[in-house]
Subunit: 496 residues, 4 copies
Amino acid sequence: MNAFSSLDHEFDIDGDTLHEECGVFGILGHPDAATLTALGLHALQHRGQEAAGIVSFDGQRFHSERRMGLVGDHYTDPVTLAKLPGNIAIGHVRYSTTGEVALRNVQPLFAELEVGGIAIAHNGNFTNGLTLRRQLIAGGAICQSTSDTEVVLHLIARSRYTSTADRFIDAIRQMEGGYSMLAITRTKLIAARDPTGIRPLVMGELDGKPIFASETCALDIIGAKFVRDVENGEVIICEIQPDGSISIDARKAGNQKPERLCLFEYVYFARPDSMVGGRSVYVARKNMGINLAKEAPVEADVIVPVPDGGTPAALGYAQASGIPFEYGIIRNHYVGRTFIEPTQQIRAFGVKLKHSANRAVIEGKRVVLVDDSIVRGTTSLKIVQMIRDAGAREVHIRVASPMIFYPDFYGIDTPDAHKLLANQYSTLEAMGKYIGADSLEFLSINGLYRAVGGKDRDAANPQFTDHYFTGEYPTRLLDKESEKTGNKISLLASNG
Amino acid sequence: MNAFSSLDHEFDIDGDTLHEECGVFGILGHPDAATLTALGLHALQHRGQEAAGIVSFDGQRFHSERRMGLVGDHYTDPVTLAKLPGNIAIGHVRYSTTGEVALRNVQPLFAELEVGGIAIAHNGNFTNGLTLRRQLIAGGAICQSTSDTEVVLHLIARSRYTSTADRFIDAIRQMEGGYSMLAITRTKLIAARDPTGIRPLVMGELDGKPIFASETCALDIIGAKFVRDVENGEVIICEIQPDGSISIDARKAGNQKPERLCLFEYVYFARPDSMVGGRSVYVARKNMGINLAKEAPVEADVIVPVPDGGTPAALGYAQASGIPFEYGIIRNHYVGRTFIEPTQQIRAFGVKLKHSANRAVIEGKRVVLVDDSIVRGTTSLKIVQMIRDAGAREVHIRVASPMIFYPDFYGIDTPDAHKLLANQYSTLEAMGKYIGADSLEFLSINGLYRAVGGKDRDAANPQFTDHYFTGEYPTRLLDKESEKTGNKISLLASNG
Amino acid sequence: MNAFSSLDHEFDIDGDTLHEECGVFGILGHPDAATLTALGLHALQHRGQEAAGIVSFDGQRFHSERRMGLVGDHYTDPVTLAKLPGNIAIGHVRYSTTGEVALRNVQPLFAELEVGGIAIAHNGNFTNGLTLRRQLIAGGAICQSTSDTEVVLHLIARSRYTSTADRFIDAIRQMEGGYSMLAITRTKLIAARDPTGIRPLVMGELDGKPIFASETCALDIIGAKFVRDVENGEVIICEIQPDGSISIDARKAGNQKPERLCLFEYVYFARPDSMVGGRSVYVARKNMGINLAKEAPVEADVIVPVPDGGTPAALGYAQASGIPFEYGIIRNHYVGRTFIEPTQQIRAFGVKLKHSANRAVIEGKRVVLVDDSIVRGTTSLKIVQMIRDAGAREVHIRVASPMIFYPDFYGIDTPDAHKLLANQYSTLEAMGKYIGADSLEFLSINGLYRAVGGKDRDAANPQFTDHYFTGEYPTRLLDKESEKTGNKISLLASNG
Amino acid sequence: MNAFSSLDHEFDIDGDTLHEECGVFGILGHPDAATLTALGLHALQHRGQEAAGIVSFDGQRFHSERRMGLVGDHYTDPVTLAKLPGNIAIGHVRYSTTGEVALRNVQPLFAELEVGGIAIAHNGNFTNGLTLRRQLIAGGAICQSTSDTEVVLHLIARSRYTSTADRFIDAIRQMEGGYSMLAITRTKLIAARDPTGIRPLVMGELDGKPIFASETCALDIIGAKFVRDVENGEVIICEIQPDGSISIDARKAGNQKPERLCLFEYVYFARPDSMVGGRSVYVARKNMGINLAKEAPVEADVIVPVPDGGTPAALGYAQASGIPFEYGIIRNHYVGRTFIEPTQQIRAFGVKLKHSANRAVIEGKRVVLVDDSIVRGTTSLKIVQMIRDAGAREVHIRVASPMIFYPDFYGIDTPDAHKLLANQYSTLEAMGKYIGADSLEFLSINGLYRAVGGKDRDAANPQFTDHYFTGEYPTRLLDKESEKTGNKISLLASNG
């Protein structure tokens, strides 16, 4: 999800969007650590709107605040920030799957270890989290949350290494999946990225103090400099030295594979003003539109973005095709978090609660709707109907990414596979008919690869993570396989 | 304010925006009256986010719900809607000036009259409200709110006419200013627009039942047909007849003057997908940008809208100039109503909490920022700085409306005149220097008139209300004049 | 209701208690006016727990805070009190009948009159409020609340007298019923009691500044001196003079009748530590128990009060009878305002949620339960069962007031007459059998009169108001009679 | 604290009361497990008002609800109870020391063990909790809360025994201190009481299903039968068998010492209608008053209880002395949880916010105030002043327990020793003078022993826990001793 579509999550009547599960931010050695973390998390809010947490360390004690709601709902409050003193802090924003809305699962998680306290937060998902959890429990560990972060804490606590850094790396090595992880101890800020580099993580610097964040937009908001991407399989340990200086020790966890960033960061999740893997997300999206215009041209009068996700691609399509770009769909921003469970009558108005057709640019026109992606298609169907009701002569849909066939296991919350539009109909025609469009086209996988990385997909060594389109997963899926054997843990359902 | 800038109100750190005070909606004879009113108000939310109220009549009793907050916060709730039974309803959304945040002032207001109950809601402002209030109090009336709507209720109650409709018209005739007003009685829905037609009001129809709303977007959301604009100085009385049919009686209040719609509805307030005075707001805004490109061209690399208000004009400017349109400023939608009173530290981040520069399209470029209007200029200053920080080579500002010099008295909440940018500096150069722009240009008054109405301003009989630019007020300002004499009423300060 | 039974209202599952509608407090000329009013209202909280309001005047403006909830929930807050500056204040606590829970009806009410602002609050009820309301509406007045206080404001506003005091008296003269009323203007604090003196009102003094309150306990809490009772039919006008001194002008409204205080103030409503009509409420209640012991003796082992209302009478009964007094019923104080709408399952536990039997003093004993009054008898039934379950050998009920047969119209919220126990069964035996008691006796009307006033009831000129027992109303009941003619006003149902 | 003083905690301006930290309730095999647990906790509310939690098991999953606030605030709600399905449940109410108000610490705590899930709740305190925590952390355990319950979970998880019951007993054996503990697994309800039996725990039965609760009043509310006290050092394991029957297995943990119930349960904490250790709390308190009358007689006119704690003792004193018992102090029940942080001005009114003198029974009298205990004496001082202000001729204080000199380590939150009245003055005269009483006397330790158990204290083997009076602790105090060595863990400060 990006800033162009930012309130989608909160009023997703049809369950027709993808959700990213988290964003992280950390800073070491800065007197305003918690305030800067709050600002960084605010910039990362598009990565998770359900809850936000910050842990700081003030030289004596760790301080933790975890709250349901937006960063701006709590962490701009002087009273709350005053409870987070110290010059070391990490924070986390999260989206949570239904039924797990537990404050108990809100990160960062903290534990007292023999070597001292540690707080951890991560973005992404472990593909062997459940497997490890079972082993830990068998070994006498107690698990109080359903969060995989707790598993990491246990691995660190039980590691036979002595230093926190070594224990952290020892733990990380055992975790499989796609994740970016931050940790703080009494003197350190540690950052790690998964061996394949599926989830992004960047390093920045403000006033000479190291910062890590999921995206560069979190650096921009506080005026921090971008230093570099954390590399896949890398662990960076920043530590305040006795003389007040900060040492930075970048290591390899020893489990690297070729980097494969998640393509959906470019298609949908990352903010358009962020640089991900050294590439402008906005430019990548415009390129998707440009390539789409080449691959799937159509004779039409007007290019209309499906707000807000489809906007950059629509602009690219318009510039490449020479067809005028117009705001044919107007967004009602007041459909927000507080839109309470509406009556059935009101739910029936569906997409109109959020979008309205701008008849002045649609009536009598051949309209091309450009969207970033199609998940279930239920929203597309309603938008097409709305555009037709406003008098469009023709409605063509152009989607700036390939068809989605497969579920994700690295932190993206996807619907059941059989609910995906691409799995419900076997031909473009059938899909288009379902949606009610005069034509429907998707960007090719190579079109997407070129838009992002400039080159076609290398089938032998794909440059990006793309399993939702291709079915080729970049890691093994241990938990998923063991699930088939049915040995499920009866976890706690909890709300408080 | 429009849907392109919709959350501005809630996080307007600098007091650098204009606020419209209200939106109204009413429907007669429909079994889902309250639900449809809630939907209509939701579509009009951009006209007022502070509070919303609905009054319905169920054949026996009137029912009233008035709440602080957004429509979606309360009026989509089955429980709340169940408290508003009946097939007659009117509703109101309001923005309120600071210090008057009293539930007591939230409309619609209800009164029991000899002829039966009546509920009233209006958008706009009366220029002789205080004068009439003083006369009423001298005549033994009691005033419990500081709302002018209460004055209208008194005038109706004290009218010597017998029918409600005649009493309503009698009251309306005594009111001066700019307003659109709706009322319901046990059988009627009454709509009225001020003699000059400063504030908009449209008539629609759903399933044969009459509807009135501030803007056409409130008709669109419920799939109602647009019938016509209520005319200036017109009173339309719709009544359920004993046989269930609905009579519609359109009268003139007898005080008409030539119509002069408020230009700011086109520049900023109305939603771009609304038709106001028969004209597409979106097309008018694009025309402003086109005219601006002609009047104030500049050699540049990229046209960047200041979101969200400047977007249509920027698109028009780009199309007219041939310079590429790019999203150089990204909006953070999560700066919302709940952004609590931030620490001073966080306030200092100002505009960055809401906007960020999209460096990829700005760095090294000559940038033209297109905005809809400039009030105090404090926000513009910060945006220019942000764009420069992102590496722009030049920053030019083009404003799609003329300079604002004068206060409004018809429902727009303007800052003190001496705080308006146009009153602080005598030359464009000085203003531009203050803001930090390489150049600054405003659309001419004729350029604006042509964008909206196709013709230059007729100095003898201006086609629109434009006093904020010209100082020429369309009505006399009785309260304002009497204020000079100092006879002020010591009104109640209240919060509950 | 008294402090011995104070949380009854909030968890009255069976609607088996009587509710008093209000308490008032006012002070003039004291720099801590609002704070002292808050404390006085806190002491009067037993007279109304639904809402509380305070209006103050600071020399320039009136300030009003009205809130649902307890005094301690809002009015001890420094922030709230800071919104009520000035040295003149009145306040009000209220209980409201179901369905009228509207902030709009919370007192004090304020109106701007020609002579300046006025705020009014009253305890009690007008028996011609609706009749006057109809006349006012016919005369062009608008009524926005369903509160009779608004009627008083209209009468004051329309009075042909010039001074506020004369207007107030003019208005009061037109009102019939039982009430105590306080008003403030820019310089005055006015107190009035109804012609028959049904509702109590006392005058006190603190630091030389006049105070009025419903009961003396509100004087005690702030260390104020009791000066005297306001007399029935009296209006006392206190005014700050230009030199800062305070004038006190006591007048008769000219409509006095012989004083008849409401007996239920002694039986149940007033706090036991209050002096009402110069008599200790606590002593009166003990006397009721003493007289009851004489009138209705019983051979038993233990006297058990039904908490909290029956406690003083039980103590009197025990002392007069020589039977030991024991706490056989323990109260759970945590059944409070926040006990949310419970499941049916939990409701079934009924009286046990609030009371439990103290088996150690009940088992095997002949128990006398002493209660202050019986309304519907539904609670008594459950308590008897509970006492039997705890092993009592016999259970006798002694009620320290006569049987209730008739509704009240002076501010006590009584159930429908046919739901009163005394109207459901024609004999004591039948009532006792319904309740499950071995015997049931009520105090005689003369026993009650002697307990309170020392003398038997004077049938020709009863010394107290006692219609709920006798059917003899101290005033005519104009609204009630006109109700039969069916000319009902269709008032607004409102929640906000 | 008992039901006679139940709201003291919430408005304890002076920190002049003792606080008990918890109450527990559990039930096995009943279809309404969570509802009955909610009712039981409601009856135990006097043992902890800060937070309440319930965990249930529905055959598949554990369900947990933990909330700040009273039981009646949340757990009577159908919506909340519906989230706690199943026929096994335990619950917990808690009082928490300042600064640890963390939802995270609210019990019951849950953990997934190899043998399946387990939830635990306890009342009391471990005297070696910190010592064990240090050992566990050194062994690779992670501690996420500051609650000792977490330590028990770790000990169970790490036990080398295989069955849950054996693991539970293994863990219990390592814990020292005073506690009553309940646990549930997928089929079991386990109850345990500390070796010395400091904290109470009773076993009951409803519809043939076993129940455990801190006090018998929790059985009474649901109509359950009392079966017996759980013995000190006993572990009772109830298990649902495959055939639906319930097995009950009572074992000794093997660490018993002679039973010594906490005397403060009798003096102050337990509800008067509870049976603790087979003795009526109410009767014990009356006996304390009777013994006090014999030990410390005084010539006086009236015996006045200090509400609510002193009431039963005052009644005993009155009966033994023949001096009349009167309600000389009236309680304002509306000083409750929601009394928000008051202004300094209002705080100054102190004790008057909660209590008022009933002048009618005090004026001109020689008054004996009977209180249950004196902690700091700050409240007593104010009450004496209030009684004098109401005109008492003499004021004598009689305290129904001995002087408190020493802190508690078994779950009672005591002020710092130097703040205790008994440690501030060396003679009764000096204490009495400080408080302003004409005389001050305390019950002797033998007087208290006889009131509760019928016999004098056996110095060699005291029958009860009485260290707060005597300094003789019933267990060793491991954590306290190790504290002196300074090896403190830097625990997390957290609010969410």
